[in-house]
């Protein structure tokens, strides 16, 4: 995405949100000072708190009077739907593109997206973690540290809390599917102090046998040459495709095992 396009969308969203939220409030610094001056251990009874507590008391009184002895809320978990099983994408079917861009941040770094496309005949899935490395004119860059975002456990295994019916796979829609059905891996890259003398590529080795070499068009600024360059990957955002209806495909059993993320 070009920088000016980002700025345009950013300005649009900022202006629209501020218009929708804007409402004159009453800045009241003496009140802040008053709150800071009183004992911090004491509960301060603002008008809102008084109203909230009064409301809760009314509700409790009402509930007690209307009690029927029926438990009003029984926590139940929905039945676990078995995960769908799509075939693992064939190595030749997966292709990708890397896009890197600057973001407004006091900490220098580049935000990036790897788009994964499926050129095959059917929708398919990926599992496991990729190996990631940087190639400078085809030679592995040694001073690179690759990892996952702290909140992420695995690249190609969606969070089951977020994707209840996609508990074990990251689906990739076909090239012909709408944009929203592509799969994305977001990344964060910082501290690049390499010479960048030649052609720089990001190599992604996916457990299904796919190896992608994606041209790097932009590098983050050098912050500390004594430290390695840091590249972090997010969990892949899978396509939101309907659950597979057929029983497990034969190809699934031939998938390669999980590989650890390493350079």
């Amino acid at each position: 995405m070009k920088r000016h396009e980002t700025d345009k969308l950013d300005r649009l969203l900022s202006s629209r949100l501020k218009n929708a939220l804007g409402e004159d409030g009453r800045a009241d610094w003496p009140d802040v000072c008053g709150r800071a001056g009183t004992s911090r251990a004491l509960w301060r009874w603002s008008r809102r708190r008084v109203l909230v507590v009064a409301g809760v008391l009314v509700l409790i009184a009402g509930a007690a009077g209307a009690s029927t002895g029926i438990i009003p809320w029984l926590k139940t978990e929905p039945a676990q739907t078995p995960p769908p099983v799509y075939p693992i994408c064939a190595a030749n079917d997966v292709t990708g593109a890397l896009y890197l861009h600057e973001v407004p941040s006091s900490r220098p770094g580049l935000s990036g997206e790897i788009t994964l496309l499926n050129k095959g005949e059917a929708n398919c899935a990926l599992q496991g973690d990729p190996k990631v490395s940087l190639l400078d004119d085809g030679v592995n860059v040694a001073n690179l540290q690759v990892g996952l975002f702290p909140e992420v456990k695995s690249v190609f295994t969606p969070d089951s809390k977020k994707y209840s019916y996609l508990a074990s796979q990251t689906l990739i829609g076909r090239v012909t599917e709408p944009l929203e059905q592509k799969s994305w891996i977001y990344l964060w890259w910082e501290n690049w102090c390499g010479q960048n003398s030649g052609k720089l590529d990001l190599r992604l080795e996916i457990p299904n046998g796919t190896t992608l070499e994606l041209p790097v068009t932009k590098v983050p600024s050098c912050v500390d040459s004594a430290k390695p360059s840091l590249l972090s990957l997010d969990q892949a955002q899978g396509a939101h495709l309907p659950p597979a209806e057929s029983p497990p495909f034969a190809r699934r059993s031939s998938q390669t095992g999980r590989e650890s993320l390493s350079r």
């Binding site: 070009k2 929708a20 935000s111 975002f149």
Partner: protein, 167 residues
Amino acid sequence: MDRQTRAIEDVYARRYQGFRSALAGIVGDYELAHDVVQESFARALTSRNDYRGDGALEAWIWTIALRTAFEMRGRPIEQELVDAFEPELPRPDRDEELATALRVLSPRRRLVVFLRYVADLDYAEIARVCEISDGTVAATLAQAKAALASSLGNSDRLQELREAAER
């Protein structure tokens, strides 16, 4: 009045409206938002000596504000800070299209959107305030922007995404 107090008062004078608007979206209520702002700045005053100057003062106050909002919800603490809110427009009638577009986003994405576009925090500041990584902020915002652009019919953005996807 010491220097730190003056600096906090200056942030309050300049940014009260930004704090209140963003917090109104985060907690979904203008009056509660005002209460959170007041309480947050009061806490900032009493703990001003804890501010080590290793980042913008406003971002430091935002970390206090989000924690204060978290505590003042009156519900038990069960989640991580970044997933603890259900941000929304308190007055959806002001921009129903935007309100609908926001509802499609996950609560985490909405929180990051409000901190970026209403509170005007940068990526590193949002990461610090929400206790998540810079990369997660960037990824969350990228996804939120794509979804909002799609919902709000921003064809330029969609075209850009398409071009990036096909490259």
